[in-house]
Assembly symmetry: C2
Homo-oligomer: 337 residues x 2
């Protein structure tokens, strides 16, 4: 039903090879011939069959994106930027989630490779390399999280330095008892944020209190529970550093549940409503748009034939001071239980 290259060739009175040349912008076609072909293409509303092209060339004009979750606002923002950029280059994007499950991540990579994606953008997790494509199979750029020993370009932020800044900021505002509410240390980002937290304490001669450090807050609800527990300690923290927006929301919820809006808070990662909450939430903004654009730049360079050694690009974060991180420490006595 749809016109094929043969129809165009017949209509233009040339061979299919010439049509193919015009289609692929090859230079060696006489101008009048090219015009004839263009006219035929327009007249027949011809569009090349992508599956046929893909079968022949092994590519697909498609970019695969693999992240933990498609509904997480951070990843959703990355995807949004990837799609804009891909569309501008005539490519489509295929998305897949891993749920931070290694088995599923492996499967998603395999599926993408089988789909002949031109390139892959992956938010890796855990130290394992098995959930990444084998080197040489498909150009790949890793985003947000570092994987030791990978053969790929990566685009990350300096999590440790940003966390260091954030926690130092809390200490500078008089806080000595600072909670750390983090997701799993399986994520290199959370691991480095914890390192930054510890270094800030060390450099300011603040003793680390194990009861204040939580590294298994899988979701908002867990963060809420742990926050409530922390704030009920005999010596509760006067400030909390949340390692991600998801845990940050949980912390806010926990603070609210025990009626403690006076606890200082800094969240790693900006989120909608952060400026509407009272007090507005001080955050480390990872600037996901920059992260995504930089990663896409790398991938496009690789697709363009760049074969230089893998690079590690560190995108700048922004520390946005809004109020919640500047609350003075209160030492209101708490009921013992």
């Amino acid at each position: 039903m749809s016109a094929t290259i043969h129809d165009v060739a017949r209509s233009a009175g040339v061979s299919i090879k010439t049509v193919s040349r015009v289609l692929n912008g090859e230079s060696n076609v006489a101008a009048p011939t090219a015009a004839l072909v263009h006219a035929a293409i327009a007249a027949l509303d011809y569009h090349p069959n992508l599956a046929a092209r893909s079968l022949r060339t092994g590519a697909s004009d498609t970019i695969g994106v693999i992240v933990d979750s498609l509904s997480d606002p951070f990843f959703a923002k990355l995807i949004s930027v990837f799609e804009d950029r891909a569309t501008a280059h005539g490519m489509d994007i295929l998305v897949a989630s891993t749920g931070a499950d290694e088995e599923r991540a492996r499967m998603q990579v395999t599926r993408m490779v089988r789909r002949n994606v031109n390139g892959l953008l992956i938010a890796p997790f855990g130290p394992s390399l098995t959930a990444l494509p084998e080197p040489g199979v498909v150009p790949t750029v890793l985003i947000d999280r570092h994987t030791e020993g990978s053969a790929y370009d990566e685009v990350i932020v300096d999590d440790e330095a940003a966390a260091y800044t954030a926690v130092s900021h809390l200490i500078a505002h008089g806080h000595q008892r600072i909670g750390f509410v983090g997701e799993s240390l399986r994520f290199s980002t959370v691991h480095h944020r914890l390192l930054g937290y510890r270094r800030a304490l060390d450099d300011n001669a603040v003793t680390l209190t194990p009861e204040y450090v939580h590294t298994a807050c899988w979701d908002s609800d867990t963060a809420t529970k742990l926050t409530k527990a922390m704030l009920k300690l005999d010596e509760p923290p006067t400030a909390i550093f949340a390692s991600t927006p998801v845990t940050g929301v949980g912390v806010l919820s926990g603070m609210r549940a025990v009626g403690r809006a006076d606890v200082a808070l800094v969240v790693f990662g900006d989120f909608p409503l952060s400026t509407v909450i009272e007090p507005a939430v001080t955050v480390v903004d990872q600037v996901p748009v920059d992260l995504a654009n930089t990663a896409m730049d790398r991938l496009l360079a690789r697709l363009g034939g760049d074969t230089s050694p893998p690079t590690s690009t560190v995108v700048a974060t922004q520390f946005l001071i809004r109020g919640s991180g500047e609350l003075p420490p209160t030492d209101r006595p708490m009921s013992p239980r």
Copy 2:
């Protein structure tokens, strides 16, 4: 480099047709033969070439999703559910955004069709049918918004009824001056939410005040600006109904900017932090998970050969009363300007 069906056939000592039969689960293969083929497939780590299959069959085991924006939390949630379901059926999803631009929407549909997607899930906008695939080209299900005269299944919510409930709730709590902050009426959803708003006023003998009705809040910032302006009227509204989470966030921001946390608020659509804000925000929850699953059910039915006439499925919403919609009207005098 990768094994082909010929390699498997040779290794198993059968013809490629027999391998193809096994691959596609056709019944008429002798058990011992099938076992031989399976062994060869496993030994060679064979995976069928998807492009070749797609070229031959005209399908691609792929579902296309087209929405306004990939980073909007509502659409991101829908996509997340679509991906889960698609993965469970061995299909991948291709995503594209329209930016609510008809030209771009048309282009995205064309691209998806050219990619031979098995099915399409589209959040349409505006009355135009030109941004939808021509009937018969590809099974399509429309989500969230109604398009008059389309030939496709649709899965929507009863926007008018839900808005009616929300606004009636405000009136029942003593409010007579109720603002409507909406995005464009191009969206059938917003249009119907406005109808529900008007009907609730009518049924309760509340006069509609044109200054309270805004239907061009493209983004949060516009909603903020209009909210601030409304609250500075000589007779400001005592309650506001926001037609979407995006405008709702803008309204909250505007209320905060003029120091009016005492204005009642109901938002159409739940959003993260709605329970953490003080007071917690009363919302009409569209239950995006239900919407997405129902749409996917319809699409899978169509892919399974269902050729019955197009259906319109209305998914139930939930009215979540949390505090912000129950604030009593205050009649604090405002400065005249």
